[in-house]
Symmetry: C2
């Protein structure tokens, strides 16, 4: 099933069930007050949500209305926790060259992951206020999973069973701030402003065979100011989501609603293009000897949409945002 | 006023107002369902909470009951955000020597801060389950502030006006995991299991003159297995809390309920002792040529209590916890 959150006066949005074709939606009222509530009582509420979804897909729900992603917040407008991996090693290796940071020990055997802010996510069409163009404004296209409760010390295999939903993410980055924050050893903070999400969170069955081996096997189509930027394929992920969850849960349990990100989708093949500007820049430097592409300016916009391998639109909907002066 | 949260079936606890002498408490029912709710509607609910507090202190509240911190969760059992600084530079310098990490650029002019997990805090008397004694189990005594909403780009001075409450914290650390996570540049994750809080969160007026210059001017008395470990003084903080909040809010707004920590309280004077084991160990190495103190073992316990300068008990109550095998 497909779930989304309409903006309302509250901080957690209003849960709706979206039809398979994303044409219609219906409030989940009476089942769960918001998506976080549903995730905290998943075993209890999932059957009722699924029934609502099936009736909606059959066109027999009286309160159905036309679905408009422009009224959506992030599926979880805030979540108990947001942890972002760097599971596409090609991206990590390029970033080391881009920012001249030392190689990360054990990079290809132990996932790296940072704890991000989860108190204030942006919706798919929200403007993105950032303080200064000079900070190296960059997008980062990713996939992510939303977990149920995860026990401390879970195995990567069991962790896969903790996944409730899959989401599509734009992990905004400020590139001039990142290298200093990496050097402190304390990790990203100012370099990672509020993260954005595509409108629709989906259960694994909505992905069909595109969900396998704990990975999302879909290209992520990225356009910057209307021009093609890349469509790297999610299947090239070096650690699967079960491994990322197990890494996060090694020394503590994770509460329901925890979101784990893949890190920027990135492919070895140059033909795929990129899902972030920093990667294109370092490729320009390597392949052409000089950086030609700048970072984003105010009023620039970025569009991201996962596609199925057959070229049809993916289930998450579209992120389409504009960077603005606050 | 003094606020605390009783454990209940929910994830956010049940807000109570505690008397000045910490002998009695009264439910805040009808005012706010939990502390996060109160923080999100502070201007609206603070007067009613303050009135309840005044009536409780006069002994004229019918529903008052004996306050027992053993039934308390953390004041915020989970919060939208937990950011921990390292504002006692003496601690930072000692940690560089302890873990042989490179000097942090700009360490004395720009605060360092990591984003911690805020989904699952521990109460003051909760057992602390950790997977393995070999991970270098350490406590870290700190002070922290709980914020109202903070706008992006706030000045350090204006940030001080965003402080709603002050708290006392034990920021548990796993010392064998920290150095690797620092080297990745992605910051602490497995090295920082669930953080613990003293039972009582207090408004600034409860601190009297112990709150000045944006700092908590109180010694933090730490005992490990009943023996004196240190009582470093909070006033030696090199960055004040307004500076820490402004640092966190440079590129994004912070939502109400965000907690900002001071980092481990640490004094230049050796007489003060320490608020974490790693610091004592490196001091032993420096002063005596060898490390004599090990890290915590299962069933060890640690007690932390802030005191007023006159030697009387501070307003936060006591953290007294035992490390256990999960």
């Amino acid at each position: 099933m497909k779930l989304a959150s309409l903006k309302n006066d509250g901080r957690d949005g209003r849960l709706i069930v979206v039809s398979r074709d994303q044409a219609h939606a219906v409030p989940a009222e009476g089942v769960a007050i918001n998506l976080l509530d549903a995730l905290q009582r998943w075993d209890e509420v999932a059957p009722a949500l699924r029934e609502l979804s099936e009736r909606l897909n059959c066109g027999v729900v009286p309160k159905a209305f036309a679905f408009d992603a422009r009224h959506c917040a992030a599926p979880l407008p805030r979540s108990p926790q947001w942890l972002d991996g760097s599971a596409y090693l090609n991206h990590g290796k390029l970033m080391e060259r881009a920012f001249n940071t030392p190689p990360i020990p054990g990079f290809d055997t132990v996932p790296v992951m940072y704890q991000g802010a989860s108190d204030d996510f942006l919706g798919p069409h929200d403007d993105v206020p950032l303080p200064d163009e000079a900070l190296g404004i960059d997008f980062e296209g990713e996939f992510g999973v939303v977990c149920g409760p995860v026990p401390m010390g879970v195995s990567p295999e069991d962790a896969l069973n903790c996944i409730r939903l899959v989401v599509q993410i734009n992990d905004w980055s400020l590139r001039t701030l990142g290298p200093h924050e990496m050097k402190t050893g304390f990790g990203f903070l100012q370099a990672k402003p509020s993260t954005s999400f595509a409108p629709v969170a989906v259960t694994l069955d909505e992905l069909g065979t595109a969900w396998r081996d704990g990975r999302v096997h879909m290209p992520l189509k990225v356009q910057w100011n209307g021009e093609r930027f890349g469509e790297p394929h999610g299947g090239e992920m070096n650690f699967h989501f079960g491994q990322l969850i197990a890494h996060a849960a090694r020394t503590r349990r994770l509460s329901a609603g925890t979101i784990i990100g893949s890190g920027t989708v990135s492919n070895v093949s140059r033909e795929a293009g990129s899902a972030c500007i920093a990667e294109r820049r370092v490729i320009e430097k390597i392949d052409q000897g000089e950086i030609r592409t700048g970072f984003m300016k105010f009023n620039d916009h970025v569009r991201m949409q996962a596609m199925f391998d057959d070229g049809s639109a993916g289930p998450f909907g579209v992120i389409d945002q504009r960077v603005v002066k606050p």
